[in-house]
Amino acid sequence: MRKVRTGIFGLNPLLDGGFNEKSTTVVIGASGAGKTTFATQFIRRGLVEGQEGIFVSLDENKEQIIREAVEMGWGDILEYMDNEALVFIDASGREFSNFIRKELPAFVEDWHGANARIAIDPLTPVMWTTKDMYEQRDLIGFMLKETRKVGTVLATLEEHGTGDLTGSETVIPMYLSDSVIHLRYKAMEGNQSRRLKIVKARSTRHSEQWHPYQIVKGLGLIVDQGEFRRGSSAKIPIQLKALLEQKKALPPAMRERVAKALDLLTDDDFRGLKPEEVLTYILQEYAVEE
């Protein structure tokens, strides 16, 4: 799986190198968490690599987002817009959902093989074009499946309520996208606290911890990697490999396959599982009677 850099400082190692190319990611967060900044950073990173960028804004008008990006210190996006590498589109949720139903299949066919970055900010008004949850699922599922054929897609989602990701508006896109990143923002008595967590990332060994992040003028989101994989050791896989060597009951082809898998792992991957336990389970599954 090819990786594309996210553009968010500190995030790539937490995602095993970045987003998977031509995958879909949903970034969920309350107002003020930095969703639009996240999306802008993601698009801008692609532009630097020569990828085309499309920013579909379904809430703010595009002038507002461009102004905020320039204030952030990212005035270069104006040049990208001039040569049409970057296109901002503002539309209503209704317009965009009609586009998904009617124009999207032909559009994707026309641009088959393209490799753009597409941000949809936020997806929420599209969900609200219908009350019917089955229809919401159909619409969002179809949109994500089609758009990733022409690029790497990032959609933001407004989080309302308690912040535990259980609302139907968050659950449906979370199921349907390849990756989910949850931004949590709390403002208390002038202190702001921001943390993010990678809730899921298909085919990716990702961090499962909460990571504090800051929004810094000129740079955007900077994620603190904390203890993640920092000098993380591989004692458990090495020990497990040594134990396996001694077990003759395991067919050699199987032993080789497990050993190969162990080479890629660190202690973090086992999260408290002891090597002896894992060995027992492997033997239970594959050992042959001598």
Partner: protein
């Protein structure tokens, strides 16, 4: 690789414009659910998003989203207690009265006292079909905010309405007019060509239009009407 995917998407999306005129989503009150929420906000200022959702038959999240949009456009104010009211519609100090009347059952107990001055807790409980404990709780809350008063009468405590809400209603009249005028101005500035069909002390009826679409906003200007009639 051919370039120009962004412009192509923009063109494809532009075909959809016939169905929703550009800028329609900025014209907040053209949206039926927002209009409905705004109407309820005038009837019951200082309600929570949850209460308004119930009144308007929306999900709490949808109501909250629309309310935040209206707050962002300075149509609605969200106060520190997380309740909402139309901007300029009430004296900020009156918020507490509306919130008290919004507490579970307090409005009903107040109405019962208004209709039967001198009622006892038991009489109120029987007429409302609720427990005496809940009447006691609501009555204490109302009394604490000087909306009702009570006197001992032997073994009973009898409740009477105070004139507080009637005074507040009188004081509200000039504010209601200023609110209506400001709202019409705001609609005009938003390009909705408002046409006032009726404006009294109690009601504002305005037709708004954008492009070919036209809607009517029907608002009560007297938030005391739901408790005092």
């Amino acid at each position: 690789m051919p370039r120009g995917i962004g412009r192509a998407m923009e063109r494809a999306l532009a075909q959809e414009e016939g169905e929703a005129p550009p800028g329609a989503r900025e014209s907040l009150l053209m949206h039926p659910q927002r209009r409905e929420l705004f109407r309820f906000l005038c009837l019951r200022p200082c309600s929570t998003a949850g209460e308004l959702a119930r009144l308007a038959g929306l999900s709490p999240n949808a109501a909250r989203w629309h309310l935040e949009k209206m707050a962002g456009a300075s149509l609605v104010v969200r106060d520190p207690e997380s309740t909402f009211y139309p901007k300029g519609f009430i004296e900020p100090g009156d918020g507490v009265l509306f919130r008290v009347l919004g507490e579970g059952g307090a409005r009903e107990v107040f109405r019962a006292v208004l209709e039967g001055p001198g009622s006892t807790q038991r009489e109120i409980a029987e007429s409302l079909g609720v427990s005496r404990q809940s009447v006691f709780k609501s009555a204490a809350l109302l009394e604490g905010h000087k909306l009702v008063t009570s006197i001992e009468d032997g073994r009973f405590r009898r409740y009477y309405p105070t004139g507080l809400l009637f005074q507040r209603r009188e004081a509200h009249r000039p504010r209601a007019k200023a609110f209506a005028d400001a709202l019409v101005k705001q609609l005009h500035a938003g390009g909705l060509t408002p046409h006032v069909l009726r404006q009294t002390d109690r009601q504002l009826l305005v037709r708004i239009a954008r492009g070919k679409a036209a809607e009517t906003i029907d608002l009560t200007l007297d938030p005391y009407t739901t408790v005092l009639q």
